[in-house]
Symmetry: C2
Subunit: 482 residues, 2 copies
Amino acid sequence: NGGVWYSCKAWVRSVWEFGKEDPNRVIFSLKVGLAVLLVSLLILVRAPYEIFGVNIIWSILTVAIMFEYTVGSTFNKGFNRALGSLLAGILAVVAAQIALCSNRVFEPIIIGISIFLVGTVTSFMKLWPSLVPYEYGFRVILFTFCLIIVSGYRMGNPIRTAMDRLYSIAIGGIVAVLVNVLVFPIWAGEQLHKELVKGFDSVADSLEECVKKYLEDDGLDHPEFSKTVMDEFPDEPAYRRCRATLNSSTKLDSLAQSAKWEPPHGRFKHFFYPWSEYVKVGAVLRYCAYEVMALHGVLHSEIQAPHDMRVMFGAEIQEAAAQAAELVRRLGKDISDMNRTLKASLLKRVYASTERLQAAIDMQSYLLTSSSSYNDKLPSSKLDSDTNLNLNPPSETYHEMMRKTSRRLYSWPSREVDAYEEDAGVTASGVLPKMKALESTASLSLATFASLLIEFVARLDHLVDAVEELSSMAKFKSEVEL
Amino acid sequence: NGGVWYSCKAWVRSVWEFGKEDPNRVIFSLKVGLAVLLVSLLILVRAPYEIFGVNIIWSILTVAIMFEYTVGSTFNKGFNRALGSLLAGILAVVAAQIALCSNRVFEPIIIGISIFLVGTVTSFMKLWPSLVPYEYGFRVILFTFCLIIVSGYRMGNPIRTAMDRLYSIAIGGIVAVLVNVLVFPIWAGEQLHKELVKGFDSVADSLEECVKKYLEDDGLDHPEFSKTVMDEFPDEPAYRRCRATLNSSTKLDSLAQSAKWEPPHGRFKHFFYPWSEYVKVGAVLRYCAYEVMALHGVLHSEIQAPHDMRVMFGAEIQEAAAQAAELVRRLGKDISDMNRTLKASLLKRVYASTERLQAAIDMQSYLLTSSSSYNDKLPSSKLDSDTNLNLNPPSETYHEMMRKTSRRLYSWPSREVDAYEEDAGVTASGVLPKMKALESTASLSLATFASLLIEFVARLDHLVDAVEELSSMAKFKSEVEL
C-alpha cells in the first residue's frame, strides 16, 4: 500500500544520499565485494581448486578480516596478520617438536600447557600501551598457533599444516592488498589531509557563529540549559563541528598511523612524508579550539552582559573575529592547496583589529565600573554614559542569575554581610551598593568574552608557526604573498 | 654479563609494575589462557574429538576472536557473532538452494554473484552511522557466508556444513562466555563507574592545580609555549588527567554500550540499570571541564596580569576554587559510594565564596581601571590604591606582550591612531593615555580568570542536577545530610 511504498522510497533516498555524500563509501563496498569474489573464484573455478585444495578457504577469511577502508590500514592489518601468522607458525612448530620428542602420554599435556602460555602471554602483551596498535596481531598469533598445533596433533605433520595455512593466508592477503591499491584506492593520507583542513574550517565557522550569536542574542529566550547541553545545541551546527574537531584526536592519530604505511601517492610525492606533523598541527588547532569552546561557554553563561552593552562593542568584536576566522580559513586553504604563503599582511590586519578591540575595552571599562566618576572626569561624553545607564534595566540580569543560582537552595541568605566583613582588609569599608557591584559583574562577562577572543588571536601565532613547520617539512610550494 | 642482566631485571620490574597497577590485566590474561586451553581440550582429549570431529577447530577461532576484556563486550561480541553466523547461515542456505535449482553451468556464477552482493551490501551497511557498533557482526556475516557457500559447493550439502560450523561456533562462544563470567569477572559497568568517578577527581585536582599555579606564578620563567603544548605540560599531571577526561567520551560510550549487555552484578543490583545516565553525567562533567581548560588557557596566556595583582585576589580565588573542588570531589565520592546526600550546605558555601570573589572584583575594578577617580571617590582607602599603584611595574607586562605578539612582524605600527578615529562614535574624544589603557588590559586577564572560575561554579549547579538524576534513577541509598 501507499504508506509502505512511501517509507520505502524515503529509505532508498536516505541510502542514496548517504552514498552521494561520500562516494568513497560506495567504492569501498564494491571493492570488498570484488575482493571476496576474486578469492572465491579460486575455489569455484576447477583449475586453481585442484592446485590449492580445501585450505584455500583460509584466504577468504583473510580477505574478509583484512580488508579495511584505507590503503594504509589494510597494509597495517596485513602486516599484523603476516607477522602474526609467521610467529605463530614458528612457535607452533617449535612446540610441536618438543611435544613429539617427549613420551606419547605427555604430548597432549605439553601441547595444552603451550596453548595456555601463548594465550596468557599474548593477551598480556596486547594490553601494554606501546603494543596496543598491534592488538590484532596478537589475536592472530593466538588463534593461528592454536589451529596449527591442534590440527597438527590430530592430523600429524604440523609443519605441513602450517605451510598450507600460511600460503593460503598469503594469497588472501595479496588479493586484499591488490584490490585495495589498484581499484580506486582510498588513501589514509588523503583522508588525514582533508580531515585537518575540515578542522580549520570548522574552527573558523564556529568562531564566527559564536560571535554572531553573542551579538544578536537579546537575552530573552534562552532555552533551558540542560536541554541544550544534551541535544548538543541543535541550532549551532558549526559549534557541533568544532566539538567534533576537538574529539578528533583519536581519528587523526589512527589516520596518521595508517598513512605511514602508504607509499608516496597522488599529491604526496616524497618518501617519509611528515604525517606525524599533521597530528601536531591538529593538536595546536585543538588548543585554539578550546578558546572557541570557552567563548561558546560565555555565550551560554548564566551571568550575561546586557544586550545593549554588547552592541556597543559589536563592531570591534565582529571585526576581530572576522579577521581571525579569515586567517584560520586561509591557513586551512593553504594546507588544502599545499601552498606556502606569507601571512604577514593577514596577521597584521588581525592584530590591528584586536588592538582596536582592546582599546575600545579600555575606554569602556571606565563606563562599566564607575559611571559617576567617569562623568566627572570626561564630561564631554556625558550623553554616551547616560544612554548607557538608561539602557540597562536595573539589575534584572542579576536577579535572573540569582534566581537560577539559588533555585536549589531553600534558605538562601539574601546577602552574607558577615562573610564580607571577614576579609575587610581587601574590601575596606564593608558593603558595596548592590546595584553597581552587580552591574559590573555582569559586564565583566563581556570583558571575558573579549579577552578570550584576544587570547584566541594570540594563539593563532602558534598555529601559524605550526602550519609553517608543516609546510616546510612537507615541502609545500612557496608562493609570493598576495 | 652484568649490563644485559641489569636491563633484564629492569624489564621484569616494569612488567611487574604494569601488572600490579591493575591486577585485572593479569587476571584477563590468565582467563584467555584458560579459555583457549579448555576449548583445545575438546580436540586433545580423545572422547569429545570423536564426537565433534575436525570442525571443532572453529570453536578455537571463536574463543580467540570473541574473548574481550569486560563481560559486557564479550556478550556484545558474542551476540554479534551468533546473530551474524545465523544470518549468514540462512543466507547461504537460500543462495545455495537457488544455485542448486539452476543449471549446473550457472551454479558457480550464481554463487559468485551472491558472494559479491553480500560483500558489497554488508560493507556498505557497516558504514551506516547507527550500525557502526555492529561492524564486527557484518564482518562475521561476510566470511561465514563465503565459507559456508564455498565449502558447501565443493563438498556438497551446504546445510550440513552450516550446521557443523554453527554448533562448533556455539561451543566456542559458550566457553568464552562462561570463563569470562565465572572466573573473576571484569564488569564493564564497574569500569564505567570507576571511570566516571576518576573524571570527577581529575577535574577537581586540575582546578586546584591550575589555581595554585596561577597564584604562584611570578611570570618570570615561562618555558617556550610551543614546547609545552607538545609535551602536554609535563609539570601539570592533573591537567593531563583532566584532558584525558575530556577525550574520554568514546571510552565512556563504549563502556556504557558494553555495560548494557551485562546482567545485574555486584553493587548494581537491579535490571535496566541506567548506564546511559553515566554517559550524560560524563557529558555535563566535560562541559565543566571545558571551563577548567579555559582557566588553564588563561594561566598560559600571553597577556598576563601582574603577579602582585593576582596575589591581591589570592585569598578569594583560592577559597572559591577550593570550595568548588571540594564539591566536585564530594559528588564523585557520592557516586563512588552510591550514596545520595543533600549538597545544600556545600553548595551554600561554594556560592558564598564565589559571592565574596565577585564582591572583591567589583571593589578592585575601580582600582584597576581608573585609580585617580577612585581616589577622589573613596579617600578612605587611599592607602590601598597607592600601594597597588606602586606595586605595578609600569606597563612592563604590556611590553612583554607586545614583544611576543609582534615578533612575527617586521613593521609593526606603534599605534594606529587613525584606526581609532574611525569609531569615534564609541570612543568619544580620541586616544587614551597609553599607560592606563594597557594596565587595565593586562588586569582584564585577571578578571577573565575570576569570571571563568565563577562560570565554573555556575555550571556546577547542572552537575549537581545531573548527579541527582543519576542517583534517583540508579536508586542510590539516601543519607541524611552531614
